[in-house]
């Protein structure tokens, strides 16, 4: 460092912190673009099982979500502890499924409607009775593309 002469006459330059928020804004916009607003609050406890044969869901707008699980602790008094179905952001029964599917369908342009997928987020401990009823209702409503939401199984 002795080769370099200290510059005289100039004070050592201060780092301008005015660009720091710009960097943060860039990060912020990145996150805004990459992530998706959680569209509904989970009113049921869902811990999805693990699996290996996974495929990614396509566009988010083409997916409607059905949740099945035990109600969250703050809903237990009104709804009990047996597993329930939640469509979108409300509790519902199997008979509400056709209406729910229709409501989602109208928001999707015609040419993409055949690619609508129903994502079933079901808790691992739920018994097959209610899941089967939901599947039967989906079949009756013509919604055949179904995705069983699951996490990637960690290889042991």
């Amino acid at each position: 460092m002795s080769k370099f002469q200290k510059k005289r006459g100039k004070a050592s330059p201060e780092v301008s912190t005015a660009s720091l928020p710009d960097i943060i804004f860039m990060l912020l916009f990145f996150f805004m673009v990459v992530t998706v607003m959680r569209n509904s609050e989970l009113k049921v406890k869902v811990v999805t099982p693990e699996a290996t044969e996974l495929s990614k869901l396509e566009e988010k707008s083409l997916v409607n979500y059905l949740y099945i699980g035990k109600p969250q602790p703050n809903y237990v008094e009104t709804y009990g502890t047996t597993p329930r179905l939640q469509l979108g952001d409300k509790f519902a029964t199997v008979d509400d499924i056709p209406l729910f599917l229709e409501q989602h369908k109208v928001k999707v342009p015609e040419n993409k409607r055949s690619r609508i997928t129903s994502s079933l987020r079901v808790d691992g401990s739920v018994t097959m009775g209610i899941v089967q009823d939901v599947k039967t209702q989906l079949r009756k409503s013509g919604q055949l593309r179904v995705n069983y939401s699951s996490k990637k199984e960690r290889e042991e």
């Binding site: 912190t17 999805t48 699996a51 996974l54 995705n147």
Partner: protein, 190 residues
């Protein structure tokens, strides 16, 4: 607006340091309220709904691989108690039938897997079973894809979207995934 002289402007400097704080706050807000999609899962095409029951007698038993799951999450594969870990291999053996055994499928295009569970079966078990069966088919499709040349001297390493659609259709035509799910029994539901 009153004229601001250069001197006035010099005094009214906004401290840019707090802008970073505001930006951090916004960032943390977004980090907390959004989810980076945990949206993977097993894609399934349900069979269309029909009021009539499929006639089971038309199928030869050798072509049907029956998997029953009871309310205790045990598997009965072709009337034999099986562990979940053996399911994939047995399914593959059934579909391909490399030794041309009499009790396994005639050919892959005629192989049907029938899955029946109880209303009391846990979803976790059902998904694991489905995962293993789908895994069996995926491995068979991968093996089949390896027979196709990619270009030059290499061949495809697995069944994936890089393979042209008509070859993919051919592969799936040779080994179609036919999984029939029956109405669940009701012995164990609470």
């Amino acid at each position: 607006m009153a004229k601001t002289s250069a001197r006035d402007r010099m005094k009214n400097e906004v401290n840019a340091g707090s802008m970073a704080d505001i930006a951090f706050l916004l960032l943390i807000f977004f980090l907390v309220t959004t989810t980076i999609a945990e949206d993977k899962g097993i894609l399934v095409k349900l069979p269309p709904w029909s009021e009539e029951e499929v006639d089971p007698t038309k199928l030869k038993t050798r072509n049907v691989f029956s998997v029953l799951v009871n309310a205790d999450n045990q598997l009965l594969v072709r009337d034999e108690l099986t562990s979940i870990n053996d399911l994939r291999e047995r399914a593959k053996e059934f579909i391909l039938n490399p030794e041309k055994r009499e009790d396994l499928s005639e050919k892959p295009t005629k192989a049907i897997i029938s899955l029946k569970n109880d209303r009391g079966t846990e979803y976790k078990t059902y998904l694991k079973v489905y995962n293993e069966l789908l895994g069996a088919y995926n491995e068979l499709w991968n093996d089949e894809a390896r027979k196709y040349p990619k270009g030059g001297d290499t061949k495809y390493t697995e069944y994936s979207d890089e393979i042209p659609i008509d070859i993919r259709r051919e592969i799936k035509g040779k080994i179609p995934m036919v999984l029939s799910e029956a109405e669940p029994t009701n012995y164990g539901e609470q």
